[in-house]
């Protein structure tokens, strides 16, 4: 190559990195340069290839083409071990922590400097020091399974700092945090950059990127589509680069007076089961033509709430009434017969049976004749594929192979097909790209206008705010805050989500 390396080599650099998975090209000739002491954001919607790029930088995946350089030196990472040895550490979106271990045990795991006989004393001390220095308080002796999501994230960061990471990759770090926790994270990130560390901050949220980074690289469909200094770039052009067109995610809501209450939950108490959180004295009602949004940090009883409403779980006390019919604990089929549809958060595995085909899955929650009518099932599936614009090889394709958006559309196609008047949806757009998100939100809004009562349970505060007429906040199995959609104030919601509301 003719160009000589610059005076100060980038802390980490990707040159023409490509990576393909069966059926998708996740990265195509990606270039990235991150300077020492800089917070560098990678902006892109879901599926743009950000996580793949991060995994390549962290040594988890090998690039098909191109190379990674650290401080100007080529780095052929065979595994995360190699990357860590060169000072590159990553905090994954789904944390890599051993739940049953203590914080200190997690920190020393895989540390080559650890003596053969385990000793966590030094680690405990270092964890405390690092916590102090970067504002990451964690108790090194606590078991990870007892920590909150925010604390787990701190453990992840401390773990990488302990291992001497100079380049820290944070993959969608705010997805699981309350707004206040996100603020704290930004401070930590800035503190690390001030210490000369480089932080790669991956996000699909424009406002965060603008708040925290000095530099931004925008990705779309596996390509880098824009690069800019954050300070000098404008919001609109970044958004357009990210999505490829102008986009407005807010749904235009026509004001209509809500009608009769169609879904009524009364004084529900639900015991925790396995790792689900119990519900305590939850009452709410959803009226015809109304969306009630339930916000909250993940793991605060959302699943119990959705399942008890959908009849999948029996409360220890309280009632569930669907269109005047008491369906409490009568099973999902009874709730459905009363006119309720449930779109669970867990699309593959609950909403859809992954190895069954689309046409078979469309039958899952409907009455089935003893002898299956294959022809008819196939015709129904073709119709749904057309109507909901599901991109799939055909009606016989296993739902396992569908993208998140297409799986969600298949799920909605089935659940909405017999005109339910009550819809319970959980995190309906999690992991979907902008196009699919918009499609799903529009489908829900159309139903609302047609007079459906919709209970929306979501950890995405923006989603709850943009869709709901009323917003409730769930914290440790209780409803701790209620506000109308217009009055909703992010700060109050965030405080309630963190459990520190006025009461």
């Amino acid at each position: 190559m003719p160009d000589s390396p610059p005076a100060v080599a980038p802390a980490i650099e990707a040159r023409g990195v490509s990576k393909a998975f069966p059926g998708v090209v996740a990265n195509a000739g990606v270039d990235l340069r991150v300077k020492k002491g800089e917070v560098h954001a990678i902006l892109g919607e879901n599926g743009a290839g950000k996580s793949t790029l991060a995994s390549i930088l962290a040594g988890l995946y090998r690039p098909d083409e191109g190379e990674v350089r650290v401080n100007g030196e080529p780095a052929h990472f065979g595994s995360p071990r190699d990357a860590l040895a060169r000072g590159v550490g990553m905090v994954y979106q789904h944390f890599r922590l051993v739940e049953r271990f203590t914080v200190a045990e997690n920190v020393v795991l895989g540390d080559p400097h650890q003596p053969l006989l385990l000793s966590t004393r030094r680690a405990e001390k270092t964890v405390a020091e690092l916590g102090e220095k970067y504002g990451l308080p964690v108790n090194p002796r606590a078991r990870v399974e007892d920590l909150s999501v925010g604390e787990e994230q701190r453990v992840e960061i401390v773990k990488m700092l302990y291992r001497g990471a100079d380049v820290l990759i944070l993959d969608e770090p705010t997805a699981v945090l309350t707004p206040q926790e996100a603020e704290n994270l930004f401070e930590t990130v800035n503190a690390m950059a001030a210490e000369g560390k480089s932080v790669i901050f991956i996000s699909h949220k424009l406002s965060e990127v603008l708040a925290v980074s000095q530099h931004v690289t925008v990705m779309r469909d596996g390509h880098v589509v824009a690069r800019a200094e954050t300070a000098s770039s404008d919001r609109r052009s970044l958004a357009r680069a990210m999505v490829g067109r102008d986009v407005d995610l807010s749904v235009q809501r026509a004001e209509e007076a809500p009608g009769e209450p169609l879904l009524v939950l009364e004084g529900l108490n639900v015991a925790g089961e396995g790792d689900t959180v119990p519900l305590r004295d939850v009452s709410l009602e959803v009226r015809a033509g109304e969306v009630v949004g339930v916000a909250g940090v993940s793991g605060n009883g959302q699943r119990s709430l959705a399942e008890v409403a959908a009849g999948m779980r029996t409360p220890t006390s309280g009632r569930v009434v669907v269109r005047g019919v008491d369906t409490t604990g009568k099973g999902p089929t009874a709730a459905r017969r009363a006119g309720l549809a449930y779109v669970p958060e867990d699309r593959l595995g609950t909403g859809l049976a992954p190895s069954l085909s689309i046409s078979e899955n469309l039958l899952l929650t409907h009455p089935r004749p003893f002898f299956l009518k294959r022809k008819q099932m196939e015709a129904t599936a073709r119709e749904a594929i057309k109507q909901f614009e599901i991109r799939a090889p055909g009606p016989d394709a296993a739902t396992r192979g569908l993208s998140g958006g297409n799986a969600q559309k298949a799920l909605l196609a089935r659940e909405l097909s017999d005109g339910p008047e009550v819809i319970v949806v959980a995190s309906p757009t999690r992991g979907l790209d902008v196009g699919a998100t918009q499609a799903v939100r529009e489908i829900l809004d159309r139903r609302r206008r047609a007079g459906c009562a919709i209970l929306l349970i979501s950890e995405d505060l923006d989603e709850v705010r943009s869709l709901s007429d009323r917003i409730l906040v769930l914290y440790e199995g209780r409803i701790v805050h209620e506000t109308s959609g217009e009055e909703a104030n992010v700060e109050d919601l965030g405080l309630a989500m963190a459990g520190s509301s006025e009461h």
């Binding site: 994954y92 890599r96 795991l109």
Partner: protein, 312 residues
């Protein structure tokens, strides 16, 4: 010797439980790495027949033990290859291992069926300790492999909880993604521990033929104790010391035949006494799953799940 019958029975229980100790500790190590190896019975049988052949050929039970141990490990390599490298269904692979191991062992053992084994293992009475009343007879008047099994238990327990590799092992079974992200090789950890598990199962099988049964009798040589060892792992909540205790409990059931006959009880037909250890094991499993209902005590979270990094 005029020890009471119950003392002799307990001593027999210790000896009968010893193959279980080896096999169960081996399986604990394999399962802690996240690999379920149902092939214990096959590895034990192959270990037993190999031990017999090697001991008979060399005239040395020690050579027999080593050969049996290696044979068990060799079969475990197959399981490690299928379940780690080939990502096969671990249950089916384990079953295949039992069927193949049993077939191969009975095939190799066909010519020696019924032959008595000349050089068996001799008891090693530990001076002083063996003179302790009752306890001495039960615990310290046994063969050297019984003592060796205690060492194996102690080492395994120490290794799992106190060493760097032990921590890596547990992480690998709890969350292989984490182990991988922290720079550990999941495949290597799993291979090593599955193979060590196989070596110990082979040693258990070797012990069975060298010290327990009078001759090779095909699949009847181990008669399902490999499966009991698997149940024992659950019973022990994946802890070696508890496995030792459990092994002696099941050993007592295995030795009950002997005890009741010695006590002159013949009201219970021999066949029903022979059913006892199996029924006891089933009962224990059912009770355990009923009581520990939702909490899988000690079971590694990723047990039985193949790990592949680059799949999405």
């Amino acid at each position: 010797m005029n020890d009471a019958v119950w003392v002799l029975t307990l001593a027999a229980a210790v000896s009968a439980g010893t193959p279980l100790v080896f096999a169960a500790v081996g399986e604990i190590l394999a399962e802690k790495s996240g690999v379920l190896n149902l092939g214990v019975e096959g590895m034990m049988l192959l270990g037993a027949v190999t031990a017999f052949l090697a001991a008979a050929a060399s005239g040395s039970p020690l050579v027999g033990l080593l050969a049996g141990t290696l044979a068990g490990g060799g079969l475990a390599v197959v399981h490690a290859f299928l379940s780690v490298t080939m990502r096969a269904n671990q249950i089916v692979s384990g079953l295949a291992l039992v069927i193949f191991g049993t077939g191969l062992a009975t095939f190799l053992g066909n010519p020696i069926e019924g032959d008595p084994l000349k050089p068996g293992i001799v008891d090693l009475r530990i001076p002083i300790l063996a003179d302790i009343p009752v306890v001495g007879r039960i615990l310290f008047d046994q063969d050297p492999l019984v003592y060796a099994s205690w060492l194996v238990v102690a080492l395994a327990a120490f290794y799992m909880t106190r060493t760097r590799t032990g921590l890596a092992l547990r992480a690998c079974g709890e969350s292989p993604e984490t182990a991988d992200a922290m720079g550990l090789s999941v495949a290597r950890l799993r291979y090593v521990h599955v193979i060590v598990g196989g070596l110990l199962a082979g040693a258990g099988g070797a012990y069975q033929i060298l010290a327990r049964v009078p001759s090779w009798s095909g699949a009847g040589t181990t008669a399902g104790i490999g499966w009991i060892a698997l149940a024992l792992v659950v019973f022990a909540a994946w802890r070696p010391w508890r496995a030792l205790l459990g092994a002696y409990l099941f050993g007592a059931a295995l030795a009950a035949n002997f005890a009741l006959q010695a006590a002159g009880v013949d009201a219970i037909p021999a066949e029903f006494l022979s059913m006892l250890p199996y029924l006891l094991t089933i009962l224990v499993l059912v009770i355990l799953s009923a009581s520990s209902a939702r909490k899988r005590l000690g079971a590694p979270a990723a047990l039985g799940v193949p790990y592949a990094r680059e799949e999405r």
